[in-house]
Amino acid sequence: MRVIAFVKSILDPEAPPGAIRFDSGRAQGDVGQVLGPYEGNALELAAQIAEGSGGAFVAIALGGKEQETALRKALALGATSAVRVEREEGFHDPLATAREMQAAAEAAGGADVYVFGRQAGDWDQAVTAGLFAGLAGLPLVPIVQGAEVRGAALSVRREIQGGYEEGEISPPCVLSASNGPGTLLRLPKVKDVMMANRKPIEVRPAISPSGGFKVSDLRANAASRAGRRIEGDLKSQAEALAQDLRRVIPGIGGGA
């Protein structure tokens, strides 16, 4: 099975809000780029399917040079090639993004399985995989936590409320990966990392400028800056935390 994984580097989500400034619809700051958390799951899933079927695995990212962090990681995990679609950083209309992905996937020769992270770690929209599946006319299995190649089909395990479900799907199809024991991103082998650093990344122009919804202003939520550290011993820390939670989330722990 040929697999295409869509990956994304994002500003380190552990950075404090104060370290990030917002400018022209883009979040910027002296903060490193990291692979989006669900994109890590997507990479692991793609690598497993490619290994299980003996197929090729292509990684595609949209954005500037900063996206090479994610693409190098994909190459280190066994991606046979990596493509970056040159596009401005920042918010983009999800449908336009899905179209760009579809064009890039077609240019890369298409695939049997398209793997996404369930949602990007920065904008959190969780719609791109669905839009891509709609545009491509392919079935979508969302929130996948593990997949196994069974002949020409894929046995897929996905999270549902309160448990799991397993089922089978015949490619071509679209999967959106979530975090779970079966999608925990492995550590790449060092020789693969060294090889990945030497491999070229293909750069393609975007097919069209973004349309649709445009961001005109971005601000950090003032409340999110107002964290406080609870001091004291464990017992008093726990009590203070419980009090804070009761205040912030009405109804919590009312019977206690």
């Binding site: 380190d12 552990e14 950075a15 404090p16 104060g18 370290a19 700051g29 002296d30 903060v31 490193g32 990291v34 692979l35 492995r186 550590l187 790449p188 082998k189 060092v190 020789k191 990392v193 060294m194 550290r229």
Partner: protein, 650 residues
């Protein structure tokens, strides 16, 4: 008449002994060759400089300073070794007389050396062997195995010594030796034959038979040396000579771009020293007794690692080492080096373990959960904790501390370390230290967001590639900063900056805060109020064993007016807190190492447990709290409390 004795008395056919002697030489040499063949598979490392190596050889092999750390068996071993050497010299003297005709077996030398001294040596050897056998089979400690070979060595030596005395006594009895009294043990036994009215012909017959038995047993023992743990007579000193003569890292920094294999997975990936170590092990079990992983029930015994590797080297030398050592064993190690400190022949366990971890981590991408997150954190964010690089200066908010700017000079650079920057408990130590430095009027700066992990957790986890990237970046940055000195509160950072970064071109003056504060107290740069609390000090492994720094932190405590009480295991014999080797980032099942150590600390009755490592601080805090003890503080916090409350500081 000149005192003397007839060599080979009552053994007219003694020339036949050269036949078994020839067999002995062949068997011995073949055994030695078999060992040599394995050693020659190892990677060769440059040996020099010889001076420190020879001094270490003199201390550890000559004076047996490592052996005597355990008094009873240590001194018994010294006695046996001295006896062995003296009796060997005595036998050479006999050879000089019989084979070269030199007149050495006579006069005062004969009376006082060949008779009196050798009798005393033989007696000391018997007592030592009795102590060994009593410990192994009477006390039955867990660290000592009781296999057939464990019995064979001391028992055959004991028989050789006893039969030697019996032979001597029969000669004295049969010849009425006028100088027999100098051989006081043989002389006493000879009087026994008299009491038993043993006939002279019978004495001669017994003597002749026993002489051949004694000779063949002694030859067999010597021939068996390369096949038994008695090989340590040769490999022990060799292992000591080849060991790291200074308290460095013991880890090499291979060129990963050109390396055929990353890490150690075959005998040929080990060094000659590593392979000699396998044959130097006497199975004394001191490493196992000192090991925190073993003490806390983890599947690691440093002794068993060496024995498993030795067995592997002998039985399947071309097979991968993953067959011999399991992952759970490799990754149980805290790299605390207690095993190496305890080993009387300087076996280096930790570099072998880290070498094998390197293979697992780099060639196979296998690192235990938790530790792998820390490694990924270093790769993605430049540190192994939660939080981003952008938060590196959060700890110093409100302090008049400056971040170094490009193109500006730097007198004292405070290397905060990832723990000091991100761990809430360690941040308090960083603040205390910074305030002390500022109170001293130091021109002190930090690197802020440009400081990045030294890579120590990655290196100990086996991820040498990531470590080398971190090391190269940090050295490059520090060379640009060019500080006069670097002060750090983290022994792990210090170990990197001071020692292990030398492989990457670093040559900085790096001091641990304990050294810096101790000096400041001595020179009167810090004034403070009197302390008076009863404190016990936990020595961090990377400070004490890796760098030999044990006095400075105690000087800070006593300088701060604290009353110091020691735990039974302290200084370079300290017991690990359980954080090393990447365990600070892993989930540890019960019993936890920190609880074992905390128990020792609490039992001292001290009001405060002090330490000088952010990782030890966290582990000891958890452990001491669980054991119902008092406060755990870094020495900088203790001193700053005193300075802050001092009228001078006000």
């Amino acid at each position: 008449m000149t005192p003397h004795r007839v060599v080979y008395w009552n053994i007219p056919d003694h020339a036949w002994m050269y036949l078994p002697f020839a067999v002995l030489v062949v068997v011995f040499c073949y055994g030695f060759y078999r060992r040599w063949r394995i050693w020659s598979k190892g990677q060769r490392r440059p040996i020099g400089p010889w001076g420190p190596r020879l001094r270490r050889l003199g201390r550890h092999a000559g004076l047996q300073s490592g052996v005597v750390k355990r008094r009873l068996q240590g001194y018994a071993h010294v006695a046996l070794a001295v006896a062995f050497i003296l009796l060997f010299i005595g036998t050479l003297v006999v050879m000089l007389k019989s084979d070269f005709g030199l007149p050495v077996m006579q006069g005062a030398f004969y009376l006082w050396f060949e008779s009196f001294t050798l009798d005393a040596a033989g007696l000391a050897g018997i007592v030592a062997l009795a102590i060994f056998l009593w410990r192994r089979y009477g006390l039955r400690p867990q660290a000592l195995s009781r296999e057939a070979a464990d019995f064979f060595v001391p028992f055959s030596l004991l028989i050789i010594l006893i039969t030697g005395f019996v032979l001597q006594s029969l000669r004295i009895y049969a010849t009425h030796d006028p100088w027999g009294g100098y051989s006081f043990v043989g002389y006493a036994l000879a009087s026994l034959w008299g009491a038993l009215h043993l006939g002279i012909p019978a004495a001669l017959l017994i003597h002749r038979s026993l002489w051949w038995f004694h000779l063949l047993l002694a030859f067999s023992f010597l021939a068996a040396i390369p096949y038994s743990k008695m090989m340590h007579l040769f490999t022990g000193p060799l292992a000591i000579f080849l060991s790291e003569p200074t308290r460095g890292s013991g880890l090499d920094s291979p060129n990963l771009e050109t390396a055929e294999r990353l890490g150690v997975n075959f005998l040929s990936d080990l060094t000659v020293k590593d392979l000699v170590d396998l044959d130097a092990c006497t199975e004394c079990g001191r490493c196992q007794d000192a090991c925190p992983a073993f003490a806390s029930g983890k599947p690691l015994s440093p002794k068993q690692v060496i024995l498993d590797l030795r067995e592997h080297a002998r039985s399947r030398p071309n097979e991968p080492l993953t067959l011999a050592i399991k992952d759970e064993t490799l990754f149980a190690c805290t790299t605390c080096r207690a095993c190496q400190e305890a080993c009387p022949v300087d076996i280096e366990h930790v570099p072998k373990i880290v070498g094998m971890r390197r293979f697992r981590a780099m060639e196979e991408g296998e690192i235990p959960a938790g530790l792998s997150d820390a490694v990924q954190g270093i790769e993605e964010r430049g540190h192994p904790f939660r939080g981003s690089q952008a938060s590196r200066t959060t700890w110093m908010e409100g302090l008049d501390l400056r971040v170094w700017q490009e193109g500006t000079p730097c007198e004292t650079l405070l290397w905060v370390g990832c723990a000091g920057a991100f761990d809430p408990r360690a941040q308090k130590v960083a603040r205390a230290l910074a305030q002390l430095l500022l109170a001293m009027g130091e021109d002190v700066k930090v690197l802020g967001g440009r400081e990045s992990c030294t890579g120590d957790p990655a290196r100990r986890a086996g991820q040498e590639y990531l470590y080398q990237i971190q090391a190269q970046q940090n050295v490059e940055l520090l060379q640009q900063v060019a500080p006069k000195r670097i002060v750090t509160m983290c022994p792990h950072c210090m170990q990197q900056l001071r020692n292990e970064y030398r492989d990457f071109g670093a040559n900085f003056e790096v001091v641990h805060h304990s050294e810096y504060l101790s000096m400041a107290l001595v020179t009167g740069r810090i004034s403070h109020a009197a302390g008076g609390k009863r404190v016990t000090y936990h020595d961090p492994c990377y400070l004490s064993r890796y760098n030999g720094i044990v006095d400075a932190p105690r000087e800070v405590l006593s300088g701060a007016g604290m009353e110091l009480t020691e735990m039974p295991r302290h200084g370079t014999d300290s017991f690990c807190c359980g954080a090393g080797g990447g365990w600070a980032f892993r989930e540890e099942g019960a019993p936890r190492v920190n609880r074992l150590r905390a128990k020792e600390a609490v039992e001292t009755g001290a009001e405060v447990v002090a330490t000088s490592c952010p990782f030890c601080l966290n582990m000891m805090s958890d452990g001491v709290r669980a054991e119902g003890g008092g406060e755990v503080q870094d020495i900088a916090e203790i001193l700053w409390e005193q300075v802050a409350t001092s009228p001078v500081a006000d």
